[in-house]
């Protein structure tokens, strides 16, 4: 059941579970998603997939070719359009122009969520890679406290090994969190409650799929 939805992070809070335990949860708004196109292995696309749209966009912000796509599908212009690969037996669940929501996640206990993490800017090795920094800060040590130390050997190999952890841009990258536990599904409001946190800021766009282990 390789289904998927496009959603939005609403925020975090806490809920009491059936045993009275306080559970940290993230609320996701996942839908309605509109089916813009269904691609079939037997057709000219050569593979099974569905193109979903989420959110709304002003007509004046949509260019002509895009508008044609939405018109052809018979849906209002969407803010985000993403494609999800499907298994052959799931093709029947999607009809062009129709909407889908969190109801299709009924019975699913774990999900994978992909989003864009919060950007932290250009960060040093201590914040970015959890380096320890210099252990000595006196006895003549100067301007070395938060440095990463040596980045390699000398004449051999005469270069820095690829993937060497150094300072640089942190965050604002695509991050997937796997196996998040689904705490609640509210089909009529298209809301999902998920245990724990989800990448990105509030209102961030998320790609939500049933956990890879359940697919």
């Amino acid at each position: 059941m390789a289904r998927g939805l496009i959603g939005k992070k609403i925020g975090m809070t806490q809920v009491f579970d059936a045993y009275g335990n306080l559970v940290p949860v993230t609320i996701l708004e996942a839908g309605p998603n509109y089916v813009i196109q269904v691609k079939e292995a037997g057709g000219k696309d050569g593979y099974n997939a569905v193109k979903l749209g989420f959110g709304s966009k002003k007509i004046s912000h949509v260019n002509r070719p895009e508008l044609g796509v939405f018109k052809h599908a018979g849906v209002e212009p969407s803010e985000v359009v993403l494609e999800f690969r499907l298994e052959p037996d799931e093709m029947g669940d999607y009809v062009q122009g129709k909407s889908v929501g969190v109801a299709q996640f009924a019975g699913i206990t774990k999900i994978d969520v992909t989003g864009t993490s919060k950007g932290k800017g250009f960060q040093g090795v201590i914040k970015r890679h959890n380096f320890k920094g210099a252990k000595e800060s006196s006895h003549g040590t100067h301007e070395y406290k938060r440095h990463g130390g040596s980045i390699g050997s000398s004449a051999w190999p005469s270069r820095v090994i690829k993937g060497k952890r150094m300072a640089g841009q942190m965050g604002d990258a695509r991050v997937t969190v796997r196996d998040l536990e689904v705490v609640g599904i509210f089909a009529e409001q298209n809301l999902l409650l998920v245990r724990g946190s989800v990448p990105g800021a509030k209102n961030g766009i998320l790609r939500i799929r049933p956990s890879a282990k359940q697919r």
Binding site: I10, G11, T13, V15, F16, Y19, G20, I27, Q189
Partner: protein
């Protein structure tokens, strides 16, 4: 910070309506549901409320008692379904919101005057 309607609703639905009025200095009897395997029983934790933290669903309160000469404090989520009920045994007269100073006092000094005695 804008709070989304859905988030507010979710939190409001979980708020308990049966919480009595109490504040720091009051002596409380907190009736707790304790699960032991299949059985459920009620345990009472009795002590002085030494502080409240008011924050909607995340509200909590701290109860302090001295048990066998050892000070014991428990923090309860105010809206927890594990709390059967909260009984206010006595109202105390105190001059601050957080009674952390009680931790350094013992015996007669750690007493709190009851509001009843003052009125009488």
């Amino acid at each position: 910070m804008n709070t989304h309607v859905a988030l507010e609703n979710l939190e409001r639905l979980q708020l308990r309506q049966d919480v009595p009025q109490f504040k720091a200095g009051d002596t409380l009897r907190v009736h707790l549901r304790i699960r032991e395997g299949e059985k459920e029983r009620i345990q009472v934790f009795e002590g002085v409320c030494i502080g409240r933290h008011n924050d909607g669903l995340r509200s909590s309160f701290t109860v302090r008692k001295v048990s066998y000469n050892i000070g014991v404090e428990r923090v309860f989520p105010l809206h927890s379904p594990r709390i059967e009920r909260i009984e206010v045994k006595d109202r105390g007269r105190v001059r601050r919101a957080k009674l952390y100073y009680l931790r350094d006092l013992r015996g007669k000094k750690a007493r709190i005057r009851s509001l009843r005695d003052i009125r009488a």
